[in-house]
Structure formats: structure tokens, C-alpha cells
């Protein structure tokens, strides 16, 4: 199991002598840390927990230079976990603490990297920096803590670290904790940003258990199947190439999945997790798929002679371009504030689909040179708000647009080829009572059809005018002959 920090539990107190965190389910074998802020003059006693773990101090208790603030951090390697796991901190007097109880799972039995521990005290304002020592091994979870003396509303950040913070400086000695997962022995800087003048900082690395994460990056097979997979944190699964099937997948956060190349067959790049970028899947033939499911993901491009699919599920996704030389391309996005198919699905031939399911949707174009295309917008509940199908014409005048507003759950794409405007208006009359939004959609679609009809009418008028001109010429010739 790859090392990670699955739980961070916070408790704050105002005028208290002891606090117990809320319960959380933890794993036996994990490393646990407990940190606390308090008044300078109050002793922070060694914490206890509901699983009878014995904690040790992580360095010394720190105080600021104005004798106002104190911070202590404790840890337990290879601890006992389970359900309802709580930590309790007691104090020598009434105080205003912020306590963090964190679990580091996937850690080595002896996870504490003593050479990495560093502490700093700063009275020069933000940023409040602390730099670790170099690490004993490459794969680690790096944890850092900060406590500041400011009142009012605080706001902590620490670049590169996932942060939990307490912002109420009026009622508590605020502080924050952050972690990051690393795969190199390089020393790490925790640069805490907060407007306070004084800060107490600490940083340390906990080692990942041996074999905790995937190390394979490249798989190459002349034929058959090549698979590269990574499940864990901070892993990069890079290249897989095969004449048959190439698959590169990663399930983690902070993972970058790059390239899967198959000379033939299928290539798949998939990423599941936060902060994951799945970039390119290229198959000379067959199927290329790029998918990302998480928040803040970007699924970029997929190209194949056969099928290219780019999909993203999560908030703030951008699913961009799927371009097969032939076959089918799909761009889809599921989540809130999604712009899926805000760009294009453009196959040279075959079919193209752009779909989005979200509260705020922008779906634009799917235009194949031949074959068919579908653009659909679907509500979060799965109801089809609008669907437009387009059949590429064999001749210009045979172009047909088909609309379906009748059944959200079972949209029918095909409509009679005759009198499409009349069909749309008849359906609109039946559907108007549904709701205002649907009515607006109908109006908008009708306007689109009207515009199309006007364009066709203009073309027809031109053609008639041309025929009339020819007729006039003929009449002139006849007149001359007579």
C-alpha cells in the first residue's frame, strides 16, 4: 500500500483543559501524529488515544519570542488503529488550543526519518519557512505544522502541500498542518503563508513501507499486451507500447499519466484521483481512450484510427479534443461547471458525439465530414435537455436536422424527413407546459431551425433567380431568332 495521509482530524478549544478529537476509522500499522497549540505558559502533555498507543515527542516544544504561543508535536509509529479512533490532549491549565490528529497509512514500521526533522521560529512575518533535512529514502509522506500568533481571521497556505487549517484567531491559537508525498530524497521546503508576524514551524518525513508503491514505468511488447499500472500516490506511469494492447493506468492523487502507444490494437490512458492529468493515448489503429475521473483533472487528447474517446468526470473539468482519423470520437464531461465538448469532436468519417451532464453546460459542435453527429445536453438527473443530431449530407439539399424534446429519458433522434419545422412546432406545443426552461430551449431550437430554413430559402431564391436569369436569356435569344 502506498503511503498517504487519509485522515486529518481537528479539534479546537476555548478555555479548556482537555480536548478529545472526534472519532475516525484508522488502520493498524499506520503512523499517527498529534499536534497542539496552546498558551506559552501552559504545558501540553503527551497525548493519549483510544487505542492505547504510546506517543513520543517529535522534537521539542516550541515557543515564540514574545512568550505568547506554544506548539508541540507527537508521533506514534506502527500504531494500533480501528474504528472510533480518538486522541486526547490535556493541558496544565485553561488554554485555547488547535489540535490535529493525523494518520499516515502505508508507512514503514519504523517510519520516522529523524534526519528529516527540522523546526524553525520566525518573527519576521510571512512566509514562515522551514526546510527539512534530506530523506533517508525516496518515497515518503512529508508532514509540516505551523502555529501563528495573529488574532482575527487567519488564512494559511503552503505551496505543494495539502493543508488543513484553523482560521479563528479570536478564539484559538490557530495553526495548520499540511502534507505532501514525495518520491525523491531531496529536502523539502514548507513555506507557510499567513499574515501573522510570528510563526512556529516544524517539518518531518515518514518513510513508506518497502514495496508500498509501483516502480514499474515502462512495458514494451513486440506483440501481445503491454500493461503499465500504478496504484498509489505520487506515481508516474509513463510509457507502454505494444503491437497488441498498451495500457497505462494510475489510481492515485498527484499522479501524472502520460503516454500509451499501440502500433495496433488499443491504447488506454486512465487516471483516477485528484490532481491527475491524463494526457495522450495514441493508437495507430484500434481504440485510444483517455479518461480522467476526479476534480481538477484535465483529460487532453486521444487519437486513433478507430475510436478516440476523451472523458472527464468531476468538477472543473475540461474535456477537450478527440480526433480519430476514422471511426468514432467521443468527448464527454460529467460534473458541475463542466464544459464538455466546448471544443470539438471531429472525425474524418464515422460518427462524433459531444455530451455533457452538469448544471452548467456548454456543448457546441460535432461535425463529421460524413456519417452522423450528436450533441446532447443532459441534466444532473439524467434528463435530456436538448439533443441535436446531424446527418452529413450526400448532397447539400439532402441535409436533415432532427430534434427531440418529447421524452427526456428516451430521446428519439430520428424525425420524419418531411417538414421538420412543422414537426418541431407541433412538439413544442405539446411540451410547453413542462416548464419555462424547456420552453426556452424549444424557442431557441426553433429559432435555430428557422435560421436554417431561412438560409435554405435564401439558397432556393438564388437558384430560382438564376433560373429566371437563364429563362430571360433564353427569351432574349428566342426574340432575336424571331
Amino acid at each position: 500500500m502506498a503511503i498517504t495521509v487519509p485522515n486529518v482530524v481537528k479539534v479546537t478549544g476555548s478555555g479548556v483543559t482537555t480536548v478529545t478529537t472526534s472519532g475516525v476509522t484508522t488502520t493498524t500499522g499506520s503512523t499517527f501524529t498529534v499536534s497542539s497549540t496552546a498558551d506559552f505558559g501552559v504545558t501540553i502533555n503527551t497525548p493519549t488515544d483510544s487505542k492505547s498507543n504510546t506517543y513520543g515527542a517529535l522534537g521539542t516544544s516550541q515557543v515564540d519570542d514574545t512568550s505568547a504561543l506554544r506548539m508541540s508535536v507527537f508521533y506514534k509509529e506502527n500504531g494500533t488503529g480501528g474504528t472510533g479512533h480518538t486522541a486526547t490532549v490535556t493541558y496544565s491549565g485553561s488554554t485555547y488550543p488547535t489540535v490535529y490528529f493525523s494518520e499516515v497509512s502505508g508507512a514503514a514500521t519504523a517510519s520516522y526519518d529523524s534526519g528529516s526533522l527540522a523546526a524553525a521560529t520566525d518573527n519576521n512575518g510571512s512566509p514562515h519557512d522551514v526546510t527539512s533535512g534530506t530523506f533517508a529514502q525516496a518515497n515518503n509522506a512529508v508532514l509540516t505544522w505551523v502555529a501563528c500568533d495573529g488574532g482575527g481571521t487567519r488564512a494559511y497556505s503552503c505551496s505543494g502541500f495539502t493543508v488543513s487549517q484553523e482560521t479563528d484567531g479570536n478564539n484559538y491559537w490557530t495553526g495548520a498542518t499540511g502534507y505532501k508525498l514525495v518520491t525523491a530524497t531531496t529536502a523539502q521546503l514548507a513555506s507557510w503563508v499567513d499574515s501573522s508576524t510570528r510563526g512556529l514551524m516544524k517539518i518531518v518525513a515518514f518513510k513508506e513501507a518497502a514495496g508500498g508503491g509501483p516502480t514499474t514505468t515502462t512495458a514494451t511488447a513486440a506483440a501481445g499486451v503491454a500493461t503499465v499500472s500504478g496504484v498509489g500516490s505520487s506515481r508516474a506511469a509513463t510509457g507502454g507500447s505494444a503491437a497488441g494492447t498498451a495500457t497505462v493506468s494510475a489510481v492515485a492523487r498527484a499522479t501524472a499519466v502520460t503516454t500509451a502507444t499501440a502500433a495496433a490494437g488499443s491504447a488506454t490512458v486512465s487516471a483516477v484521483g485528484a490532481g491527475v492529468n491524463a494526457t495522450a493515448a495514441t493508437a495507430a489503429a484500434g481504440v485510444a481512450t483517455v479518461s480522467a475521473a476526479a476534480s481538477s483533472n484535465a483529460a487532453a487528447s486521444g487519437s486513433a484510427a478507430g475510436l478516440a474517446a476523451v472523458s472527464g468526470a468531476g468538477a472543473s473539468l475540461a474535456a477537450t479534443v478527440a480526433t480519430p482519423a476514422a471511426g468514432t470520437s467521443v468527448v464527454s464531461g460529467v460534473g458541475s461547471t463542466v464544459s464538455a465538448g466546448q471544443t470539438d469532436a471531429v472525425p474524418a468519417a464515422g460518427s462524433a458525439t459531444v455530451s455533457a451532464q452538469a448544471s452548467s453546460i456548454a456543448v457546441t459542435s460535432a461535425v463529421p465530414a460524413a456519417g452522423s453527429s450528436t450533441v446532447s445536453a443532459t441534466t444532473a438527473g439524467g434528463e435530456v435537455e436538448q439533443q441535436l443530431s446531424y446527418s452529413a449530407p450526400s448532397k447539400r439539399r439532402e441535409r436533415r436536422y432532427n430534434y427531440d424534446y418529447s421524452s427526456p429519458k428516451a430521446p428519439e433522434v430520428a424525425e420524419p424527413a418531411k417538414a421538420p419545422v412543422k414537426a418541431v412546432r407541433q412538439k413544442a406545443k405539446k411540451s410547453i407546459p413542462a416548464d419555462l426552461v424547456e420552453m426556452l430551449g424549444l424557442i431557441e431550437a426553433s429559432q435555430s431551425v428557422t435560421a436554417q430554413m431561412m438560409a435554405e430559402r435564401a439558397e432556393e431564391t438564388k437558384r430560382i433567380q438564376a433560373l429566371q436569369a437563364e429563362e430571360d436569356e433564353m427569351m432574349a435569344v428566342i426574340a432575336c431568332c424571331l
Binding site: T4, V5, P6, N7, V8, V9, K10, V11, T12, G13, S14, G15, V16, T17, T18, V19, T20, T21, S22, G23, V24, D39, A68, T83, G84, T86, T90, G93, S94, Y96, G151, T162, V163, S164, N170, N171, Y172, W173, R253, A274, S295
Partner: protein, 122 residues
């Protein structure tokens, strides 16, 4: 923020068994943090009591407090209420919601004291 448990100020006599107050968070409500507040109304010096919040899933959390006049954080006055706020977050730093259902607050009184109890959810 919403108050889901409130008891007006009253005197609690010291006793071995804790006083128990029950409240329910209904289905469909997301609770990312819970704060328990006790007004400090002339509490006697020394340990006054402890509060244990029992969650619907069997988990617990709590805090303890002393009496007497204690300065507010950073000085400048006497603290009017003791409080404690609980929350938790996942691997990405996002809040982990507390379960809905029946909560109970066990208030163990070591010295007779007057207080009002408020439990808020956020």
C-alpha cells in the same frame, strides 16, 4: 450554522453520573463541524466538569474545563464561555461529514455550576 441542541441556563449539581441531553440531526443535513458551548457563570475555581459528545455511529469527542476567572485569548477580559469545535478532513483536505441521527451530550459535573448549553452544527 444552526443550533441543534440548546438548554437555557440552569444550575447543575455535582454528581457522579453525567447529565445527558439528546438531540437529532435529521437526514439530508450535511454537518462538517460541531461546536459545543457552555457559558461560564461564576464557576468555582478548579476542575468543574467534562463534556462528552456521543455520535450516532458510536464515536465520541469531548473536552474538559476548569472554573475561576480565566483571561480571554491574548488577555483583555474574562472568558464568558468555554467551547470546543470538532471537524475532520480527508486525503484531499475536504471535510468529512458527521453522521446524521441521534446525538447525546453527557455533561459530567465535578463542582456545582450554572451554565447554558448550546450545540451548533456547521
Amino acid at each position: 450554522m444552526a443550533v441543534f441542541l440548546s438548554r437555557a441556563s440552569q444550575q447543575y449539581a455535582a454528581r457522579g453520573n453525567p447529565y445527558t441531553i439528546n438531540a437529532t440531526i435529521p437526514n439530508g443535513v450535511t454537518v462538517n463541524s460541531i461546536r459545543v458551548t457552555l457559558t461560564r457563570e461564576g464557576w468555582p475555581v478548579g476542575a468543574v466538569g467534562t463534556v462528552t459528545l456521543n455520535f450516532p455511529d458510536g464515536a465520541t469527542a469531548g473536552f474538559g474545563f476548569d472554573g475561576g476567572d480565566i483571561p480571554i485569548k491574548g488577555g483583555g477580559g474574562v472568558l464568558a464561555a468555554s467551547s470546543c469545535e470538532f471537524s475532520r478532513s480527508d486525503i484531499d483536505g475536504n471535510p468529512i461529514a458527521f453522521p446524521v441521527g441521534s446525538y447525546s451530550l453527557a455533561f459530567k459535573v465535578l463542582q456545582t455550576a450554572r451554565t447554558a448549553v448550546t450545540v451548533e452544527r456547521f
